[in-house]
């Protein structure tokens, strides 16, 4: 590994040495600071600002050391955020370091991304990763803007590209009652995802208020009846590999 790789610095909002909910197996989760979206439903809004006051940069090497410590117990590493692609140089160096170090090379590497990244960046990242867990908020660009403050052209393009390269590990649908969970919307989304990958794995993340900001308190929480409907509608649309969270 080149000395310069481990010296690259970035902003890390936190780490979780053991997670069973961020991909297959036991995973070390690294939260990179900063996200280009400003989702109403964000459960971790502290990770949105790109340059939070008082946060100091850390090196790839220091993160790598922490992963090495936990490596005997791990299946892999999941890099999330924030939005990991917001710090492309740090992200790439971290992935290279994990892939090259003998103590971590066996660990799978997953990204948890909102997909708002350019094609060129994905082309650089894809050889370094085992898969991406991609958030798809809503297909309709206008409602996407309302929910996130940004358009979704790049998100949809990323989904196609990742599926074509065989690294679309899972698509996550964050559903909010009355906002993006109408039957027609769900069916359209399912059909589109199946057109990318007939075996696509989908996880519905049901909206909960816990952890969100005051501006999101007016949103309704998902009920058990909603969950039943989501399963019915998405299954009828042809999704087979479906988890409702």
């Amino acid at each position: 590994m080149r000395e310069s790789t481990v010296q690259v610095k970035g902003l890390v909002a936190g780490t979780v040495p053991f997670s069973a909910v961020d991909g297959t197996g036991s995973r070390y989760v690294i939260f990179l600071q900063g996200c280009g979206f400003d989702c109403l439903t964000c459960h971790n809004p502290g990770t949105i600002p790109s340059q939070p006051r008082g946060m100091r940069q850390v090196s790839v090497g220091s993160v790598l050391d922490r992963v090495i410590e936990s490596a005997p117990f791990l299946t892999g590493v999941t890099i999330t955020g924030g939005e990991p692609t917001m710090q492309p140089e740090f992200l790439e160096a971290l992935l290279v370091a994990l892939a090259e170090h003998p103590a971590t090379a066996h660990l799978t590497r997953l990204l948890d991304s909102n997909g708002d990244a350019p094609a060129e960046l994905w082309d650089q990242l894809i050889p370094l990763i085992d898969g991406v867990m991609l958030d798809v908020k809503v297909l309709d660009p206008e409602r996407h803007f309302v929910l996130t403050g940004r358009g979704n052209r790049r998100v949809l393009a990323s989904a196609s590209r990742l599926a074509a390269k065989g690294v679309l590990h899972e698509v996550r649908l964050m559903l909010v009652p009355g906002i993006n969970d109408a039957d027609g919307e769900l069916t359209r989304t399912a059909h589109w995802l199946l057109s990318l990958d007939p075996q696509v794995r989908v996880r519905v993340n049901a909206y909960r208020r816990h952890g969100t900001r005051a501006c999101a308190r007016h949103l309704l929480e998902v009920t058990d009846a909603d969950r039943v409907r989501y399963r019915e509608v998405l299954t009828a649309a042809g999704l087979r590999n479906l988890t409702i969270g």
């Binding site: 909002a13 979780v16 069973a20 909910v21 600071q33 600002p49 946060m55």
Partner: protein, 519 residues
């Protein structure tokens, strides 16, 4: 009325006890009407101070505490005592085992070890047997139900693994579907022999009903030989034999009553308490072997299914965390399991104890070099303010990997079993590979035993056995339960505050130590 008569009459009319539970209690009352085996005044005093504790086994030992009969030989040869020839079909084998179980003694009056069920039964389900998966599941479901409905408590334990096979797979399916506390289960894990997919299936059953418990098979074989079994609350013992007795030493009481400064306790006082514990063990073993003739008279011995030279004794200890605290080692009140110095001192105590026990001769323990096997005793229902074995106190358990690394160094010293309980949130059920990875890592770090307690599946891991939450609620409502161990579990849940066990990977917790605070 005499006190004895009062006790007997109270037992005869105890509305909380089933008929069989009354018979068990009456037998103990009769036994305790006799004087205990003679020991020195010092030993009696150590018992009065609760430094040394006989586990309430009774005053006149007349059967070994734990018996691990050689079921394989019985199935191969048949039994004159049972008037059963060697079985040739699955049904006959299951009937043979059930008949045999009725005649296997232990401290609880019923077997604590049902055998290595997959190895015993696999020969009866080969391709030529014509037994399909549905038929196998149905047969084992009936077998499982009879065991749960007829055995008195959840100390009854069956072993599985380390190899894959049809029977182990079927038992994992049946166990998850039946949701019983009996039998308790242990899976032997050998990284070379146990396939990933079998481990995954086992973890799925653990998520459903809290079983099985997992043992590091190569480590066990290195310490106990090829033939061993795991019984009751994680007691690992020689197969075809077992343990005459289990006596335990409260390390915290040992330190509290030490007549020397705390820094001298390990070298000047602990050795004396080990001697006194061993004295009680020796007296109890001699009574069992020399006074009752159990090992000559019992049918298992007569048919060569157990033999005295395969028996040993278990030297139990508990209260390690409190002993470290009393010794005043480590700072900041973090204590054993969290503070590095305190944890290291805990390791030193266990290593010293192992040395002392290995150097203390005991009669009739030739199976294990003429001395007892050290065991981290998992506690009993009435323990208050003192932590089981070498566990980290409930509510103070550190995050997962730190927890494993804090306790793993103790495991090599404790061949007769040690249990550290790791409580997980229910999300692991959807991701069993997470637990499989942790298990493999833990065994590579030197863990001997791994026990999981999964929140929300309706089962709670107590000392080593399980209770169902619905049975605990039943005891609270009308004071009754079918299994005697459920009463003990209900007591433990209160006295040892088991609901306060720290859950690993509770959602939302990030380790912020790496970076500064987010804006």
């Amino acid at each position: 009325m005499s006190e004895f008569e009062l006790s007997v009459r109270a037992c005869l009319a105890d509305p909380g006890l089933t008929y069989r539970q009354r018979v068990q209690a009456l037998a103990l009352l009769a036994e305790n009407a006799l004087p205990p085996p003679v020991v020195s005044e010092d030993c009696t005093r150590a018992q009065a101070k609760a430094v040394v504790h006989d586990m309430g086994e009774g005053n006149a030992p007349y059967r070994p505490r734990y018996v691990l009969p050689d079921y394989a030989t019985a199935l191969a040869r048949g039994s004159a005592h049972l008037e059963l020839e060697a079985p040739t079909t699955l049904d006959d084998a299951l009937t043979f085992l059930l008949a045999m179980y009725a005649g296997v003694p232990s401290i609880t009056g019923y077997p604590v070890y049902l055998g290595d069920l997959d190895r015993l039964l696999e020969p009866f389900v080969g391709p030529e047997s014509g037994v399909g998966d549905a038929e196998l599941d149905a047969a084992l479901t009936r077998f499982w139900r009879v065991i749960d409905r007829t055995m008195p408590d959840a100390f009854v334990h069956a072993n599985l693994g380390p190899d894959d096979g049809r029977v182990v797979r079927s038992i994992l399916r049946v166990d998850a579907a039946q949701r019983q506390i009996v039998p308790n289960l242990t899976l032997r894990v050998d990284p070379e022999r146990t396939p990933e997919d079998l481990l995954r299936a086992a973890v799925q059953t653990t998520c459903a009903d809290g079983k099985p418990h997992y043992v590091n098979d190569p480590m066990m074989r290195a310490d106990l030989g090829q033939a061993y079994g795991v019984v009751s609350c994680y007691n690992s013992l020689p197969y075809g034999g077992g343990a005459h007795t289990l006596v335990r030493l409260d390390l915290s009481a040992s330190l509290r009553f030490a007549e020397v400064p705390a820094e001298d306790w390990l070298e000047r006082s602990l050795p004396r308490h080990v001697e006194l514990t061993a004295e009680l063990m020796a007296a109890r073993i001699r009574h069992l072997v020399e006074q009752t003739g159990f090992y000559r008279h019992d049918w298992l011995a007569r048919e060569g299914l157990i033999s005295l030279d395969r028996f040993t004794a278990m030297f139990g200890f508990f209260g390690l965390a409190e002993a470290v605290e009393l010794a005043g080692v480590g700072g900041g009140g973090a204590g054993y399991g969290r503070d590095e110095r305190a944890t290291a001192f805990g390791h030193r105590i266990v290593a010293r104890l192992a040395e002392l026990v290995a150097a203390t001769p005991l009669p009739y323990c030739e199976a294990t070099g003429g001395h007892a096997l050290l065991h981290a005793q998992s506690g009993i229902d009435s323990d208050i303010g003192v932590t089981a074995g070498a566990r980290i106190p409930v509510g103070c358990e550190p995050p997962l990997y730190q927890h494993i690394r804090a306790v793993a160094p103790n495991h090599r010293h404790v061949p007769a079993g040690i249990s550290d309980v790791f409580r997980f949130e229910p999300t692991v059920g959807a991701n069993p590979d997470a637990v499989v990875a942790v298990l493999r890592g833990a065994f590579a770090e030197g863990m001997r035993d791994m026990t999981f307690d999964v929140v929300g599946n309706g089962f709670v891991r107590i000392t080593g056995f399980l209770v169902r939450e619905q049975d605990v609620a039943g005891i609270a409502a009308d004071g009754r339960a079918r299994h005697a161990s459920s009463f003990l579990g209900a007591g433990s849940m209160v006295n040892q505050r088991l609901s306060e066990r720290v859950v690993k990977a509770a959602p939302g917790g990030t380790d912020q130590a790496l970076a500064g605070p987010a804006g």
